[in-house]
């Protein structure tokens, strides 16, 4: 099924659930229900491929299962930062592992983009083209972009996930968008 991207993140208060999930299977199952879809969508946006996204999503939640009893956070915000950090690392690891394939994909789409340059309107921009452009960015920049625009996270949350200050994220995002403009403008070399 095709869905519209950039769904808003629910603001829920499940702090007690996070504490209980450290020792109770049912509570962890509830947390899983709350976060599976978000993480899966995040993985799709980062990895482009549903099958790969499912694999990485599995890896993320199995990592959560192994580490939940040792997780020291006490709030849902702590849990959200943690699970997105894991997802970010897993997705980046996958991208780095398949970096050659990603570059080929990016170049192919960029060439197609160049051929269609004359008739381009922003309204015609589709997901493969945008994804190919995003792939030209550094993995960390891809993460920030995805968290901001596809996961609708605020700067504080993004900062917690990637381990930087909110102000730094704001500056980085500005630069990322400028780089993305450049890439979409026909420079597939990106920022490398």
């Amino acid at each position: 099924m095709v869905a519209i991207m950039a769904k808003p993140v629910e603001q829920t208060g499940h702090d007690d659930l996070v504490v209980l999930a450290k020792s109770q299977t049912a509570a962890l199952g509830r947390l899983y229900d709350l976060y599976y879809e978000r993480i899966f969508r995040f993985c799709v946006h980062r990895l482009f491929n549903r099958s790969t996204a499912e694999d990485v999503t599995s890896s993320v939640f199995l990592t959560v299962a192994r580490g939940m009893s040792r997780f020291e956070g006490r709030t849902e915000q702590d849990f959200r930062s943690w699970v997105y950090t894991i997802a970010t690392n897993q997705a980046n690891a996958h991208i780095r592992k398949t970096i050659r394939r990603q570059r080929l994909l990016g170049n192919a789409v960029a060439q197609r983009r160049a051929r269609e340059q004359d008739s381009d309107e922003w309204s015609s921009l589709d997901w493969p083209i945008l994804y190919a452009a995003i792939q030209q960015l550094k993995p960390e920049h891809q993460t920030i972009l995805t968290l901001r625009f596809f996961e609708n996270m605020d700067y504080d949350d993004i900062a917690r996930v990637v381990g930087a200050r909110p102000a730094t994220i704001r500056v980085m995002l500005h630069r990322i968008l400028r780089k993305l403009q450049k890439v979409l403008g026909g420079d597939p070399g990106g920022e490398e």
Binding site: A3, M5, V64, S69, N89, A93, L177, G185
Partner: protein, 510 residues
């Protein structure tokens, strides 16, 4: 062209993609995740150790030095006591060996202390080497003396043998005498069973003794359970486990012993690292003086002995961070030593047999670097020295190209930052597929997430010193190192693996 965040957000909102989750995958993963969670919460019982042991609790205990003495005595006592229970052949085969090397691991205060016990069975001598360089020698043969070396004072003290030892048995390190006393007790019962270790089925013999007459950390040991594991093929003891219980039945301490049978051993305390310049005090004769003028030789070296232990010369890379920060999220983490690693003693002639040797990996396409970096000698934590393997469990395997006797493995993952790598397991085998004859020399995979068996070794923080693992004189051609991500990310990094040993052909040719 979009000009700002708002424009880009509109752009993204208008894009369609197929990101609807698959319900089947969701349910399947849910079951798998919850099952993993429940399994992670169940403590795995180490295959070779007694059930019912809580390793973490034991590490909280301060264990007195007397523990190892007691454990050693317990082994000897038990060796003899089981003579009438079908254990006689094991004892006889064990005693036929010229040397017995027992590597004992003592768990205390989130730290593991390792001691080597070199036992000359024929000459009735034992040398005990502690990690800090302290050495105690017992000569129940011709010398009839105890020799103690204190590395801080650089002094050797010669004294009479202890009159009494654990179990009230005189000459605790003379297991024949100890056996004679202990075996005569009618309350000794030997339990026989089998146990699995590294794919081998071992025979296990357990005995419990009450009132062994020693204390641990000021607490009286009211009960001692010793389980000895023997290889049914060689009939020799290969491992042992000790469990010390207090008056209330609570476990006071625990030790794991791995036993091997080297062809040669030290002929004197000077062969196990005691400097010949150490000051000697002979308490038996009131003598105090410098070496070369002492009234009695200390464990006179046998003329045929070419054996000598020397500190390994390990070249260390550049230090990348100061201090030893601790990651509070990692359980069972080794405490920082707060000082340089003490010297590790190995037989003279030991070299890094892994240098330049071929390396293979579970990840055939490293994300960064190439596999030859693992044995190229480069240890600095720079980009050009590190090979980065993918997420989840990965391993590198070094082919030493011939069978070697391995005394130590030194492992450097990424030490640019103080990370803790998960599920570090090091195994040795003659089988490149690691299906048969596999020996584990280190395992901190406490929850058995690799499926290689639960390990009891502690997690550790990467530093420029690398992690030195006792190779326990294990013999094999291939060395495999596992890891499963780290506290920073899910990736696996290797900068260098050094394997200190000697080719078996050179040992057996001597």
């Amino acid at each position: 062209m979009f000009e700002n965040e708002r424009d880009f957000r509109k752009l993204v909102a208008g894009i369609e993609t197929n990101d609807e989750p698959n319900a089947a995958h969701r349910e399947r993963l849910r079951r798998q995740m919850l099952q993993t969670f429940e399994q992670a919460g169940v403590r795995s019982v180490p295959v070779i150790l007694n059930p019912g042991w809580d390793a973490h609790a034991a590490r909280k205990l301060a264990v007195a030095a007397a523990v190892l003495l007691g454990a050693s005595a317990a082994i000897w006592v038990w060796l003899g006591s089981a003579g009438g229970t079908g254990f006689g052949r094991v004892r006889a085969a064990t005693e036929k060996a010229p040397w017995l090397l027992a590597v004992a691991k003592r768990y205390a205060n989130d730290d593991v202390q390792t001691e080597q016990h070199w036992c000359d069975l024929a000459a009735r001598k034992t040398y005990v080497l502690a990690e800090d360089g302290a050495v105690v020698g017992y000569d129940y043969g011709t010398g009839q003396m105890k020799v103690s070396y204190n590395p801080r004072l650089k002094t050797v003290v010669v004294s009479d043998l202890p009159r009494t030892g654990p179990f009230g048995v005189a000459a605790a390190y003379n297991f024949v005498q100890a056996f004679g006393v202990f075996a005569s007790r009618e309350d000794v019962k030997v339990e026989k069973s089998t146990a699995e270790q590294d794919g081998r089925t071992l025979r296990a013999y357990a005995v419990e003794a009450t009132d062994p007459a020693f204390s641990i950390d000021g607490q009286d040991v009211a009960g001692l359970r010793v389980t000895v594991f023997a290889d049914p093929k060689t009939k020799r003891i290969v491992a042992a486990g000790m469990e010390y219980r207090g008056p209330a039945g609570d476990v006071l301490a625990r030790e794991d012993w791995v036993v091997s049978y080297p062809q040669a051993g030290p002929a004197s305390i000077y062969d196990v690292g005691v400097p010949r310049t150490a000051r000697v005090s002979d308490m038996r004769q009131g003598y105090r003086g410098t070496p070369g003028n002492e009234p009695a030789p200390i464990f006179t070296p046998a003329p045929t002995s070419g054996f000598r232990l020397e500190p390994l010369r390990i070249e260390l890379p550049k230090r990348m961070f100061v201090g030893t920060p601790q990651d509070g999220r990692t359980p069972h983490l080794e405490k920082p030593r707060g000082a340089p690693r003490p010297p590790f003693l190995a037989p003279a002639g030991t070299v890094n047999v892994a240098r330049g040797k071929p390396v293979s990996s579970s990840d055939t396409e490293p994300l960064i670097g190439s596999l030859d970096l693992v044995t190229d000698g480069g240890k600095d934590a720079t980009e050009d020295n590190v090979v980065e393997l993918g997420p989840r469990p990965q391993h590198v395997t070094i082919d030493l190209l011939e069978r070697c006797e391995i005394y130590a493995v030194v492992l450097w993952h990424q030490h640019r930052w103080p990370r803790v790598y998960h599920d570090v397991v090091v195994q040795v085998s003659d089988d490149p597929a690691f299906k048969t004859g596999v020996r584990t020399v280190f395992n901190n995979d406490a929850d058995n997430s690799l499926g290689l068996g639960a390990g009891r070794d502690l997690h550790y923080t990467e530093t420029y010193e690398g992690k030195l693992l006792d190779g326990k004189s294990t013999r094999g051609r291939y060395v495999r190192c596992y890891s499963n991500g780290n506290t920073h990310d899910e990736l696996n990094h290797y900068i260098e693996v050094e394997v200190y040993g000697r080719p078996v052909r050179s040992i057996e040719g001597n």
